[in-house]
Amino acid sequence: MSTRHILLGLLAAGPSHGYDLKRRHDERFPQARPLAYGQVYTTLQRLVRDRLAEVDGTDADGGPERTLYRATEEGAAELARWSAEIAPPAPFVANEIFAKVVVAILAGGDPERYLREQRAAHMARMRDLTAVKTAPGADLSTVLSADYALTHLDADLRWMTTTAARLTSLTAEVDHR
């Protein structure tokens, strides 16, 4: 994920300082890893270096003085370019679950049991996410991020279900190579 573009996107709403940007990032992307302050300030400095953002004075607001940043016109253009850029559809063929199943077959393990337990772990996580997104008062960011995670877990789970059904033929294929 491009932190620099996300910060530029947050700056599109108006000048802001690092502390506020971190808080708004964590609110908007509740299921993502929270941003470290150090990463926010380093990214802001790089945006200024690349002329995509600039310092817009300071803001004390009764507390310590904070540097305000705003996006430049170049920054707005870069954000528009990045937003419209199509992300390559990722094939995810190097997935860890896939690797474990193949290795379990190669090493004479118990891939069916692994798939069953992995499926249970996926379902437990899907139940947690469903509870989060259907809780009274869940905001749109929370619902969207939980939906995104649920859809990807569901894709894994469909693959695991199909693979469990195909295990017999898959085992024969791997054994013959």
């Binding site: 996926h122 379902m123 996410l129 789970l157 059904a165």
Partner: protein, 236 residues
């Protein structure tokens, strides 16, 4: 009817066997549903999910095995008593709501109350409240053919819950809906069930719908494969 012992399951099946002709749909399935629990039964097509629901809901009788409800054997009850149980204690929702096409949404929901001997005014008032809870009060005078799929399923849910059943049996209740409408229907069902303490036996092949349940039982070839184990250790 409630369980004598609070730790005993509300509904339990032991060793259910059911054949359709020469095909064994259930081959010794055992399952328990606790009071207030939402249990998902998942599995591929033909795994016996719907047959299990039909047996548990008293719609068909198993060939072998036992079903208890509130501690009482129900698989051998006379048809009249079983029918009363279905009317008073159970609610059922199918994939295609199976609403009566000639009746309005309001009258469809009021019907189970009228069959239970309640007055028309009271039945319609109750039905209206349930339609309100499911967000389809505005469609109460429409007939099923005039409703969207999601609206029709919400009406079907209201009809299943209007009598205050202890258990709702839902057979692929979102199976005919797009994913957003399906999630809205499932959210409505889960909220209503949790608010009223109603148990739900939910048949689905969709993991995202099963994730609304507290627990999952997987069927394959008429037997349960595994219960979704929450205790599985996840490496971090």
């Amino acid at each position: 009817m409630t369980a004598d012992n609070s730790t005993a399951p509300l509904l339990a099946a032991r060793g259910l066997v059911k054949a359709h002709g020469r095909t064994e749909a259930l081959r010794g399935v055992s399952v328990e549903l606790a009071a207030g629990e939402i249990l998902a039964v998942t599995g591929p097509s033909g795994s016996g999910k719907s047959t299990l629901l039909h047996c548990l809901a008293g719609i068909v009788r198993p060939d072998r095995g036992a079903i208890t409800y509130g501690g009482e054997r129900i698989d051998q009850l006379p048809e009249a008593r079983l029918s009363e149980l279905r009317r008073t204690e159970f609610g059922v929702v199918f994939q295609f709501g199976q609403l009566i096409p000639e009746l309005t949404a309001l009258d469809n929901v009021a019907l189970p109350l009228l069959l239970a001997g309640r007055g028309r005014t009271e039945a319609r008032a109750s039905a209206g409240e349930w339609l309100e809870r499911f967000g389809v009060r505005g469609q109460q005078e429409l007939r099923p053919g005039e409703l969207s799929g999601g609206q029709a399923q919400r009406v079907a849910l209201a009809r299943a819950l209007v009598t205050g059943p202890e258990v709702v049996f839902a057979d692929e209740p979102t199976g005919a809906l797009d994913s957003l409408a399906g999630e809205q229907v499932m959210t409505a069902l889960a909220h209503a069930a949790r608010e009223s303490g109603t148990s739900v036996l939910l048949i689905t092949h969709d993991a995202r719908i099963a994730a609304y349940a507290d627990r999952e039982v997987i069927l394959r070839d008429g037997a349960e494969v595994a219960e979704g184990a929450d205790a599985v250790e996840v490496s971090r």
